[in-house]
């Protein structure tokens, strides 16, 4: 039982590491990116 728990916990960790790597390279879809860019432009102009 402990061995199974140990394996599951470590599997979770490996999956999380994979998720982090994916999140780092993940780019949001073009429409939401366009909205974010417009928002950033507005913020820049207002400085």
């Amino acid at each position: 039982m402990m061995g199974l728990l140990d394996t599951l916990m470590n599997l979770f960790v490996f999956a999380f590491i994979g998720l982090l790597i994916w999140l780092y390279f993940y780019e949001p879809k073009k429409e939401s990116k366009k909205r974010d860019d417009q928002q950033r432009t507005l913020e820049f102009k207002n400085r």
Binding site: L5, D6, M9, L23, Y24, P28
Partner: protein, 494 residues
């Protein structure tokens, strides 16, 4: 207040733990111990890999072109002078733990290593190395990355200074991200509450042992403990009801001045050259071995060594993770206008050098007195709380230094709890910079009740396990914050 689900659930969670602890202190303590053992045995490698990764990434960031990016707008100047900033950093990292473990920890590690057959000089040298590893660069890398993410997004992207701020700013506003952010804030609140309550309990033990040593009391039982606890609660509740921010700053600076003066006093009136020899050796040993030590998991050692490693270094790293939201928010708030390079180098190096001196003096003095048979090192196994005071008892002006240490411990706890109640109120109200007195008071009371639970556990080990249990998820949160930071920073034009 009743329309704020985050606040209500956070309160329910912390009150639930408080009730459990009061009804069945031993049960909570055993549960925490078991959970921590399972977690650290299974995922200890991940904790060590994470803290090493945080440290290496911090240095790479500092030395890269991104080091020039300001935490704020490009024309923002630092809010505080460098000296004030560093002093406040010391105050953030300086706490009752340093007073508590200053001598006790090096001696504890020395006894363990000597028991494993290491010759005394090697045991002493390695004991100091292990202590500095636990309190040095890796600990501050945990705080630094958390603070950097909050400061960068807070000052440069105008995001609320919550732990979830960077996550929402990076990944947008869809339900999954909002839910993750909400959960991260809840975990932060829970970890801060448990962590600060643990420190409150340690502070009470420290002050209690100061009084016992000073007045040569015996068998004080819970009476003295609860009296000190009551006075502490009264001392921190008042500042929550009125704006005493200037007064709090004075108290915090006073505690810091007392602690630093104590360290300098011991250095000058103790065996100065012995202590300085130890400090210089510690500097070389530590900086040469810090990085490899971060990857050490005692993989091929026997059970006894593994248990000790989990009880100390791993437990510490998880303890720092529990403190990261609290210390991170504080460091972030004082760092507007600094460049990332200044920030990282300041946060990592200044407190680490201070720790080298601190443990070099207290730990070195412990070794010296043990060798001179002025101090029985086995005291750390019987009553770890008393170690600092017994050490001071062998030095000149012992009554004064014992009183000063007790006062410093008291002030550290009061100022920490007041700050924590403010941060908890801020986190649980969506980042409001002026949370209501009612909510601050509620958190103040909860911190007191949780602190009482920890005190009733009667054991420093139990306190540390309860804190470690609360901090478990943070190893994931901090990596997520780092991803948010790196992902956003790479788009900066430098």
């Amino acid at each position: 207040m009743f329309k704020n689900p985050l606040l209500l659930i956070a309160l329910a969670l912390t009150i639930g733990v408080s009730i459990w602890g009061i009804i069945d202190t031993q049960g909570l303590s055993n549960f925490a111990s078991e959970q921590v053992k399972i977690t650290l045995r299974s995922r200890g490698w991940f904790v060590m890999l994470t803290v090493s990764f945080l440290l290496i990434t911090s240095f790479i960031l500092a030395l890269s072109k991104f080091g020039k990016i300001k935490l704020g707008r490009d024309d923002d100047e630092p809010e505080f002078s460098t000296m004030s900033w560093l002093t406040m950093m010391f105050a953030a990292g300086m706490g009752v733990g340093l007073l508590f473990y200053g001598a006790a920890e090096p001696i504890t590690h020395y006894l363990f290593l000597a028991g494993q057959g290491a010759p005394p000089p090697k045991a002493a040298s390695n004991a100091m190395l292990i202590t500095l590893f636990n309190w040095g660069l890796h600990a501050w890398a945990i705080y630094g990355v958390t603070a950097l993410a909050i400061a960068y997004f807070g000052f440069r992207k105008d995001v609320p200074q919550l732990v979830s701020g960077p996550i929402r700013a990076t990944f947008g506003n869809n339900p999954l991200v909002r839910g993750t952010g909400w959960l991260v804030d809840l975990l932060s609140i829970y970890a801060i509450a448990i962590g600060l309550a643990g420190s409150l309990a340690l502070g009470v033990f420290q002050v209690q042992d100061g009084i016992i040593t000073l007045l040569n009391l015996k068998n004080t039982g819970m009476g003295l403990t609860l009296t000190i606890f009551g006075i502490l609660c009264a001392a921190y509740i008042l500042p929550l009801t009125v704006d005493l921010s200037k007064g709090m700053a004075v108290l915090s600076n006073t505690a810091l001045i007392i602690a630093v003066a104590l360290m300098v006093f011991l250095l000058l009136f103790g065996p100065t050259s012995f202590l300085m020899n130890g400090i210089v050796e510690a500097i070389g040993q530590y900086f040469y071995q810090a990085l490899p030590a971060g990857f050490s998991t005692l993989a091929y050692f026997e059970e006894g060594a593994k248990v000790w490693f989990e009880s100390w270094s791993l437990n510490y790293m998880v303890w720092w993770l529990a403190w990261a939201p609290f210390v991170g928010v504080f460091i972030a708030r004082i760092s507007r206008g600094r460049t990332i390079r200044e920030f990282i180098l300041g946060v990592l190096l200044a407190p680490t050098f201070f720790s080298i001196f601190w443990f070099g003096v207290f730990g070195g003095l412990g070794f010296y007195q043990s060798a001179a048979s002025q101090l029985d090192p086995a005291i750390v196994q019987e009553n770890i709380n008393q170690t600092t005071f017994l050490l001071l008892g062998n030095m000149p002006l012992s009554k004064l230094t014992i009183v000063a240490t007790s006062v410093a411990a008291f002030l550290f706890i009061v100022t920490s709890v007041v700050s924590a109640a403010y941060v908890l109120a801020m986190f649980s109200t969506g980042g409001s910079q002026n949370p209501s007195v009612k909510i601050k008071l509620i958190w103040g009371v909860i911190l007191g009740v949780l602190g009482l639970v920890m005190i009733l556990s009667g054991s420093v080990g139990a306190i540390r396990n309860i804190i470690a249990m609360s901090a478990g998820p943070f190893v994931f949160v901090i990596l997520l914050l780092l991803v948010c930071l790196l992902k956003t920073i790479k788009n900066e034009k430098v």
